[in-house]
């Protein structure tokens, strides 16, 4: 058992840290988040060409770096810590995972190298009902000859207004729940697709609405068996859930760090605020939460690695994802909220960054289900069964 970073993983983390400290400064974040696109295309280009980040867990045969999910989550953590504005999460943690899990070899060969080269992508599966499980899929897919025709609306799609490539879920008419779901991969500029930026409270993570009006795709767009894609989509969602929890840990850490730094500067009543015991105890509770959250994401990342390697612990994927998301969502919100409180008056000014973390805490909490959602998901496994009295 060696549940800690290897030398190589440490290096990857530290490299991400150093790069992001340079490029994802407070000023850079504020500039990028104020745009509708939501990121600096030049920076994305550097992330692709200099850092090879989109390639991270794409197998080498498709031009990727062939690294694991632990490395990916380590990078997500740093990106959360620096509030990175970039299409990385949508491209790598949503679309690339979807392709790795559900695409044919031909589809992988066609799209993964494009992603390595900087093509942006995302996953759209949620309708407007605010669900995150199979019920979320509302768009309808019908068969017309050799083609598939998709109509319906997607909502809350990360970077959906700007991504170049889409993976989308749709269901056969009249089906519900886990039945009848198919996945498709398609260029975002297919006829019949209109896309709208949805302005959001957290400006660092962009969301979009996608309206599909009889979007017609041939069989090459279908991923896997028609109507049978829920198991794959469920895995994709679990992998995405683990990755967003990594972002949350980074944010929770930085909420603590920036708060402690402020407390060590600020003097009231002739003393550093950091010397007040009630303040110290709040900071200690923040550290407890972030360390426990970190333990959760790295376990989940290891399980994700097992999943990609077909290991026996793969079966733990849904549980590990829900544990990580339930805990990290609450930890981040707690730390960012307490961070504002401990900053005092400046905590709710636009000038200080803690409010940006507070907003990202909320947007990542909601995305893919909040703690309550994931606890109920776990409760079904723990408590339900035919023998429940």
């Amino acid at each position: 058992m060696e549940f800690k970073f290897s030398e190589e993983q440490l290096m990857i983390r530290d490299t991400a840290d150093a790069f992001l400290a340079e490029v994802s400064t407070s000023a850079a974040v504020r500039e990028a988040m104020a745009t509708e696109l939501g990121y600096d295309p030049m920076l994305w280009q550097r992330m692709c060409e200099e850092m090879f980040w989109p390639a991270i867990h794409i197998p080498e045969q498709f031009g990727g770096m062939g690294l694991g999910y632990v490395e990916l989550v380590a990078m997500q953590e740093q990106m959360g810590r620096y509030l990175l504005c970039a299409p990385f999460y949508a491209t790598v943690c949503l679309a690339t995972n979807a392709l790795l899990v559900a695409a044919s070899e031909q589809q992988k060969a066609r799209y993964l190298p494009a992603i390595v080269s900087g093509t942006t992508a995302t996953l759209a599966y949620t309708g407007s009902n605010g669900q995150w499980d199979a019920d979320a899929v509302e768009a309808i897919c019908t068969r017309e000859g050799e083609n598939y025709v998709i109509s319906g609306n997607y909502r809350f799609v990360p970077d959906g207004h700007s991504a170049q490539l889409l993976v989308v879920a749709a269901r056969e008419p009249g089906t519900r729940g886990e039945e009848g779901i198919s996945l498709f991969v398609l260029p975002a500029d297919c006829p019949g697709i209109s896309r709208h930026w949805l302005p959001t409270m957290d400006q660092t993570r962009k969301q979009a609405r996608l309206d599909f009006d009889k979007v017609t795709l041939d069989a090459s767009a279908l991923m896997g068996e028609v109507g049978q894609a829920w198991p794959q989509l469920a895995q994709i969602i679990d992998l995405a859930t683990i990755a967003i929890a990594g972002d949350q840990v980074g944010g929770a850490q930085q909420s603590l760090d920036s708060t402690v730094a402020y407390l060590k500067e600020r003097v009231q009543f002739g003393r550093k605020i950091a010397s007040y015991q009630a303040v110290k105890h709040k900071a200690a509770d923040m550290m407890l939460k972030v360390e426990a959250a970190r333990s959760a994401i790295y376990y989940a990342a290891c399980i994700a690695d097992e999943f990609f390697q077909g290991g026996e612990l793969s079966v733990e994927l849904p549980e590990a994802a829900s544990i990580a998301k339930a805990y990290c969502s609450d930890a981040y919100f707690h730390n960012a909220g307490t961070g504002i409180q401990l900053h005092g008056g400046v905590g709710f000014t636009a000038e200080y960054d803690i409010q940006l973390y507070f907003k990202r805490a909320k947007s990542t909490e909601t995305f893919l289900g909040n703690a309550s959602y994931h606890r109920e998901r776990l409760a079904r496994t723990l408590l339900d069964g035919s023998d429940l009295l």
């Binding site: 809350f156 930026w197 009231q268 009543f269 504002i340 409180q341 709710f348 636009a350 000038e351």
Partner: protein
């Protein structure tokens, strides 16, 4: 114990309600429900006009003595006025700092000349006031005032230099009351003065502070040899702290029931959303909505105790000491509840680039409730030290 207002008070309530119904319409329809927390800088001209309208009806400064133009209204009547005002969705009062803070202070501590000069325009809704207490290094530590006042013997006037912060409505105000250090050798609450300073002069600069909502309700105010007349200091030089603290004591909770009515509107709106989007079927949300309801009802009961003047045995009004900590924490939780009832839609703005919905704005602003006017930490210190007799925090 009696839960009800007297018949006389209920008659007063009817009078208030009728007047508001007849007057808060027409040109004033658009300011209904506006200008509250987070919206204080909006529709300023219209709300100024409303202040004058209120005065015409005799509804400004009702708690002031009749000799200064008030109605000598009892605590109960002031509570009732605030309740009815909130019920009618009256706009945020532009004149409230003059009416509820400065006015009573001048009546208690001011010279006859100050009363005659400053009270009538407040009463008429013509001169607006803002408050100059906090400074960058005097937040929780309110006595750590760095702003200086020196008397220019030659010109026979005070010159004020320093920086105040968290000043609401500074742009719109005609005057600011400021505590400033008259004795440069002094520290803490000694050696301060309480000054009445005109805002429209070269020595005063106002800079808005942008909030996490993207809006600017507060300001920094810079004084650079700002001029203050020799008669415009309240009390003697050195009495500033006594006057300032006396002022804080004039807020006797008469607005709490009105504030709670606004909270109740917010909770009703959350319930409406929950019923329409299905969140009302989520058992966890149900618990939290019920908890919010419990908390708000108890907030009202607690205010009723507070306004009834505590136990007849004259013991400390502990229910008043918890009030700020209680409501601010309750409201902050309500903000989170509103977002969780909205679910993923909570993220989506009404409009770009940063057009927050009413619920989103409320949610973000509630994070300041537990900070301004004495942080929750300071409130807990005060409760522990004054109500429970635990040792004071040492100064460094």
């Amino acid at each position: 114990m009696k839960l009800r207002f007297s018949a006389q008070d209920e008659q007063f309530r009817a009078e208030v309600a009728t007047w508001l119904e007849q007057n808060l319409g027409g040109e004033f329809e658009e300011i209904r429900g506006r200008g509250g927390p987070g919206d204080e800088h909006m529709l300023v001209e219209e709300r100024k006009a409303w202040e004058r309208k209120l005065h015409q009806g005799g509804w400004t400064c009702i708690g002031w003595p009749a000799e200064y133009g008030g109605r000598n209204a009892t605590i109960e009547q002031q509570v009732i006025f605030n309740e009815e005002y909130a019920r009618a969705r009256g706009p945020g009062r532009m004149g409230h700092i003059g009416e509820t803070l400065l006015g009573p202070t001048l009546i208690a501590f001011g010279s006859e000349g100050q009363k005659q000069r400053f009270l009538p325009p407040i009463l008429r809704g013509e001169e607006l006031w803002c408050q100059g207490y906090s400074e960058p290094s005097a937040g929780s530590d309110l006595a750590n005032v760095k702003t200086r006042a020196r008397f220019d013997e030659e010109a026979g006037r005070w010159l004020i230099t320093g920086q105040k912060v968290w000043t609401s409505l500074a742009h719109e105000s005609h005057y600011c009351f400021v505590i400033a250090r008259v004795d440069p050798q002094s520290v803490g609450h000694r050696g301060l003065g309480f000054f009445l300073i005109a805002m429209n002069q070269p020595g005063v600069t106002v800079r808005p502070i942008e909030q996490l909502t993207g809006t600017c309700e507060f300001n920094e105010v810079f004084f650079d040899d700002a001029v203050c007349g020799p008669d415009d200091i309240v009390g003697a030089p050195g009495d500033g702290w006594k006057v300032a603290m006396g002022l804080l004591g004039f807020e006797r909770g008469v607005s709490t029931l009105g504030q709670q009515m606004l909270f109740n509107n917010e909770l009703d709106e959350i319930i409406r959303i929950a019923r329409s989007n299905g969140a009302a079927r989520d058992p966890v949300i149900r618990q939290r909505i019920a908890d919010a309801h419990v908390g708000l009802r108890i907030m009202r009961f607690n205010s009723m105790r507070m306004l009834s003047g505590g136990t007849s045995d004259g013991s400390l009004q502990k229910e008043a000491m918890i009030y700020k900590l209680y409501w601010s924490t309750w409201h902050r939780n309500l903000g989170k509840l509103a977002m969780d009832v909205l679910g993923p839609e909570s993220e989506i703005l009404d409009s770009g680039p940063y057009g927050l919905s009413r619920m989103q704005s409320m949610y973000l602003f509630t994070r300041s409730d537990t900070i301004y006017g004495g942080t929750n930490q300071i409130q807990r210190n005060i409760i522990a030290e004054r109500a429970l007799g635990m040792p004071r925090e040492p100064r460094g």
